[in-house]
């Protein structure tokens, strides 16, 4: 549907009540895959991290990764879930070339974790409690690359390549109950919920949690219920929405699209939909009915998982501070204004700023550098800011500024050097010779030369027109190639002008 055909958002809400549901897949960062000993890592040659089991070769058998079970239990506990005393894997049968066994080893009626709750805070301060139906374990599919088509999609492709390195990577799928009463906040609820899940898995250390790499993937279910009705509408499932902003946009788009269709007397097709980041719309995928039959049955190649209560309690004791509570504590400790703090959180720099402060930097300076220059450079090279430079280096840089060794401008050059792999800030200062010139002798020589070259300026200064000093300061800074403290230059210019009297 073209954007012009969408129903106005406010009008859509007037006529319909949005009902939401989310399935978030979290890729665990275990060393090995879910059911075999192959490495769980990116960036290897295609199909190199494979074995008879994850390639689905005849005779291959699964073995459960104990670390994945541990991570799943910790995640379940962090979501307030109960942990099953007896949990089983089940086969979800369907044919697709990225699924080596042509069934996914998942969980069906006996998930490892169930009945959880997660309270999220919207920007307005509104608290929304999302009920978690279940969190279950499963293995990921391989990656298909469609070659030859214009769009990179399967339609129109000449052939497809499949890389099973990702096949068998451990996933936890977190499924919410229906979320009702979201109203106009529904899109924001989607974004904030996924952000909260992401924060939790990151804090637990169970996932790399990079949405851009698919570590956290969201399927958003949206349906509309006409006002005054108690009958649920038909839902759509928008698959693999892979950024927080996209979750918000996709939910909003579906509300407006479905409202327009329903209002025009149309019906919603129960289907999966694809999200298009570039155009900001969803398009139809495959029809999906409640009767989709995956012929689930208990995985006979695996024994049930029965975590002892003692172990579960041990794992509960390892849980980190809940991210929401941590945010409140940090904002208070650092004395940040709401906007300042949001800036840090939204830029995903909480850990980096915290580590920088822990390394000795003042909170405001740490915030300024991370959300400013580091974020800018990260943006230029299209990577995340915290992958660009270590917090301890940023703290060292800030220390040099505070000590007066570097001006902000010089510090930015040093930062580039550090990022460029030239060493620590001090090493870059030394190797590039970037330290502020604090030798007054060199400055005085340059100032005297500049004053002599601009006698009219000198006269103005002597007449008390102090602002005229700017031209001389500029000339001196230029002569010093920027490596001087402008404030000190100013002091000295005024002094020398007076002395020259």
């Amino acid at each position: 549907m073209k954007k012009a055909e969408l129903m106005d958002y406010d009008k859509a809400l007037e006529l319909f009540e949005p009902v939401l549901g989310f399935e978030v897949h979290v890729e665990l960062n275990t060393k090995t895959k879910m059911f075999c000993g192959c490495a769980n890592e990116f960036g290897q040659g295609a199909n190199t991290n494979t074995c008879p089991t994850c390639l689905g070769l005849p005779g291959g058998l699964p073995q459960v990764n104990a670390k994945a079970i541990e991570s799943s239990i910790r995640l379940g506990l962090a979501l307030g879930c109960e942990i099953a005393e007896h949990s089983r894997f089940a086969r979800k049968n369907y044919f697709y070339p990225d699924t080596a066994k042509n069934f996914q080893t998942s969980q069906y009626d006996e998930p490892i974790a169930f009945n959880g709750q997660l309270t999220i805070e919207l920007e307005s301060g509104r608290l929304v409690t999302v009920d978690i139906e279940r969190a279950h374990m499963e293995d990921d599919a391989g990656k298909l690359t469609h070659v030859g088509g214009a769009t990179g999609r399967i339609q129109g492709a000449d052939y497809s390549l499949v890389d099973y390195n990702r096949g068998g990577v451990p996933l936890v799928e977190i499924v919410t109950q229906m979320i009702e009463g979201g109203e106009a906040d529904s899109p924001e609820i989607g974004r904030t919920y996924v952000a909260a899940i992401r924060e939790i898995v990151k804090a637990l250390g169970v996932s790399n949690a990079r949405m851009e790499e698919g570590n956290v993937r969201c399927d958003a279910n949206v349906s509309l219920r006409p006002r005054g009705s108690n009958v649920l509408g038909t839902r759509t499932e928008t698959k693999n929405v892979n950024s927080l902003r996209s979750v918000e946009r996709a939910v909003r788009y579906e509300i407006q699209r479905q409202a327009a269709l329903l209002h025009a007397g149309g019906t919603i097709t129960q289907e999966t939909r694809h999200w298009h980041e570039d155009t900001g719309i969803t398009s139809a995928g495959r029809p999906k009915s409640d009767a989709d039959d995956y012929r689930y049955f208990p995985e006979p190649d695996l024994v049930p998982v029965a975590p002892s209560r003692e172990w579960v309690e041990e794992l509960r004791a390892t849980l980190p501070e809940p991210p929401a509570a941590r945010r409140k504590r940090l904002q208070a400790d650092w004395g940040f204004a709401d906007l300042e703090f949001q800036d840090v959180v939204n830029s995903d720099l909480l850990d980096a700023v915290e580590a920088t402060i822990a390394a000795g930097a003042a909170p405001q300076a740490a915030r300024k550098w991370w959300t400013g220059e580091v974020a800018r450079l990260a943006n230029v090279s299209g990577v995340s800011a915290d992958s660009l430079v270590q917090p301890v280096q940023v703290a060292a840089l800030i220390e040099l500024v505070v000590a007066g060794t570097l001006t902000d401008r010089l510090a930015r050059q040093v930062l580039e050097g550090v990022i460029g792999g030239e060493g620590t800030p001090i090493e870059v200062v030394e190797s590039r010779g970037l330290a502020v010139v604090s030798d007054d002798g060199a400055l005085i020589a340059a100032i005297d030369e500049a004053l002599a070259a601009q006698p009219d300026v000198l006269a103005k200064i002597r007449d008390g027109k102090v602002q005229a000093a700017g031209a001389v300061i500029g000339a001196v800074m230029k002569a010093m190639r920027g490596q001087a403290d402008a404030a000190r230059v100013r002091e000295l210019v005024l002094e020398r002008a007076g002395a020259a009297e």
Binding site: L55, P58, L61
Partner: protein
């Protein structure tokens, strides 16, 4: 030198270890035998002569260097084609895997190689182990060495025919509902299905994961025990593998040969596994065997297992359900043959469908359809769910029986070897041939078949099935070895010594003469 191909593995072991015979000689003798008669028997789908002789030479060299090797080092073995072998095609009797050489060895194959056994080749089987006759092999049936017009049992007819025709002293089989024991019964050999989880399934091409178990196929109980000791024990690659420490099965078999080993042993006769539907000669030999046991001091107790009546029905829901899922991976994407549809677009789904249509035989398709149906939403509880409940009831029947007796016995199969084609048109008749063996798979308990004579009416071998409680495999071997000795003493010879001599080469199906000696 006695004809080495007629020797048991235990006897060969002695000759090899004192270097009266070399492994190369033993291996060559078996390769010659295969060369001479396998055109007629068709037990092998692949013979790896050069690799076998090279492996044998390595064992001889190690022995010559003074290395002390395991008891079966240098003894040849045939491997059922359901097991993955890194150096030989592994087709599971299916066209869909024609020529496929796996990049790995099944755990049992690795253990066999590590113990110094010499793989001779891969043996024929019903496609994906679905069948009781090898008639469903995509590569043609194996012929029963006792009568080439008859089936050698299935699915492991190739392994059973190989040992009973002296092409190999030992073989590996797999047993999902009787595929080791029923072929053993109809060829006059010994076969053991171990306790579920006792032997690794890693690398065994799965039929029904919760029922499959790899086990030994041999001519004597002691040989089966020696092989069991090599292949058994925990394997971390198979999550259903038991972590128990197992006693030596060979020691158990030898203990069974002690005087009075049968005295006071409580032998349960399962009412439901005899009588109606059992060939008269089968029942007759069974009754005679019970009398021999009683005379040797065993206590014969009649026990009832009322839920066995539902075993076949439950089995034919659980097996196809699991098989339909296990066989989904045969899709042409990563291995095996690929067949493109004759017309229309080449989508992955259509190529998968065309490949599976061309690559799977009729029985495989039948069971995939059955299993897909049984697992479908709305039918699951009625079929798969109910079948699992029956499984629990059968386990309880066994528990109740084993509270009263030490071992259970029955005929291994209701009939002797039937003729080719006899049951092809009627799947139910074929399925019913496994009525005796299926309960042990459903309960996960160990079972053995050993020869108990020839049926008077057709002169064909009849098998005795012995079952023991789960993890009590050693008891099977002690009792089995005792029964074997008792029977052979009563006959004054081994059963297989009465099998027809198979003429070299010229033979084709149907030319073997049926034993004219009649019953023993």
């Amino acid at each position: 030198m006695a004809n080495v191909i007629k020797l048991s593995a235990a006897d060969l072991s002695g000759l090899l270890s004192d270097r009266s015979v070399s492994s190369v000689e033993v291996t060559q003798a078996h390769l010659d035998r295969i060369d001479a008669i396998d055109t007629g028997v068709h037990a092998f789908l692949h013979v790896a002569g050069e690799a076998a002789l090279a492996a044998a030479a390595r064992i001889d060299a190690r022995r010559a260097a003074g290395e002390v090797l395991g008891p079966l080092a240098g003894v040849p073995i045939a491997i059922k084609d359901v097991l993955a072998t890194i150096d030989m095609p592994s087709t599971a009797g299916s066209k869909i895997l024609e020529g496929w050489i796996p990049p790995y060895d099944a755990t049992v194959v690795r253990r066999v190689r590590d113990a110094g056994l010499i793989p001779l080749g891969k043996t024929n089987m019903d496609e994906f182990a679905m069948g009781s006759s090898t008639e469903f092999s995509a590569y043609g049936p194996t012929h029963n060495p006792w009568d080439f017009d008859r089936i050698p049992g299935g699915s492991g007819g190739g392994s059973a025919a190989a040992v009973s025709s002296f092409e190999a002293p030992l073989a590996l089989g797999s047993d999902t509902g009787g595929s080791i024991r029923q072929p053993a019964a109809v060829t006059g050999s010994v076969g053991v299905k171990p306790t579920y989880g006792g032997v690794s399934r890693y690398g065994s091409i799965a039929l029904a994961s919760s029922l499959d178990q790899v086990g030994p196929v041999t001519r004597t109980v002691l040989d089966a025990a020696l092989l069991h000791d090599v292949i058994g024990g925990h394997d971390p690659l198979d999550s259903t593998s038991l972590t128990d420490t197992w006693p030596s099965m060979a020691a158990a078999a030898r203990a069974g040969l002690a005087d009075g080993a049968l005295k006071g042993v409580r032998v349960g006769v399962v009412t439901e596994l005899n009588g109606d539907g059992f060939q008269s000669g089968v029942s007759q030999r069974f009754t005679e065997t019970l009398a021999l046991l009683a005379a040797a001091g065993a206590e014969i107790v009649e026990v009832s297992a009322p839920n066995f009546e539902y075993a076949i029905a439950a089995y034919y829901l659980i097996l196809p359900a699991e098989a339909s899922s296990n066989l989904a991976r045969f899709d042409s994407v990563r291995f095996g043959i690929r067949v493109n549809p004759e017309d229309g677009p080449l989508t992955s789904e259509r190529v998968m469908a065309a490949t599976r249509d061309a690559g799977f035989g009729p029985e495989v398709k039948r069971r995939i359809i059955l299993g897909t149906y049984a697992l479908s939403a709305g039918y699951y509880d009625a079929y798969y769910g109910s079948a699992q409940k029956v499984r629990t009831l059968i386990q309880r029947d066994f528990e109740a029986a084993f509270a009263k007796v030490d071992v259970l016995v029955s005929p291994s199969a209701p009939t002797t070897a039937f003729k080719f084609g006899e049951k092809m048109a009627d799947p139910m008749a074929m399925y019913l041939n496994d009525v005796t063996t299926i309960p042990a798979n459903l309960a996960g308990i160990p079972g053995m078949s050993l020869p108990m004579g020839l049926a008077p009416e057709d002169g064909l071998p009849v098998g005795l099935q012995i079952m023991a409680p789960a993890k009590m495999d050693a008891r099977l071997y002690s009792f089995g070895a005792a029964v074997e000795a008792l029977l052979e003493a009563s006959w004054g010879r081994t059963l297989l010594s009465q099998a027809p001599e198979l003429a070299p080469k010229a033979m084709s199906a149907g030319t073997a003469s049926t034993s004219t000696e009649g019953a023993v």
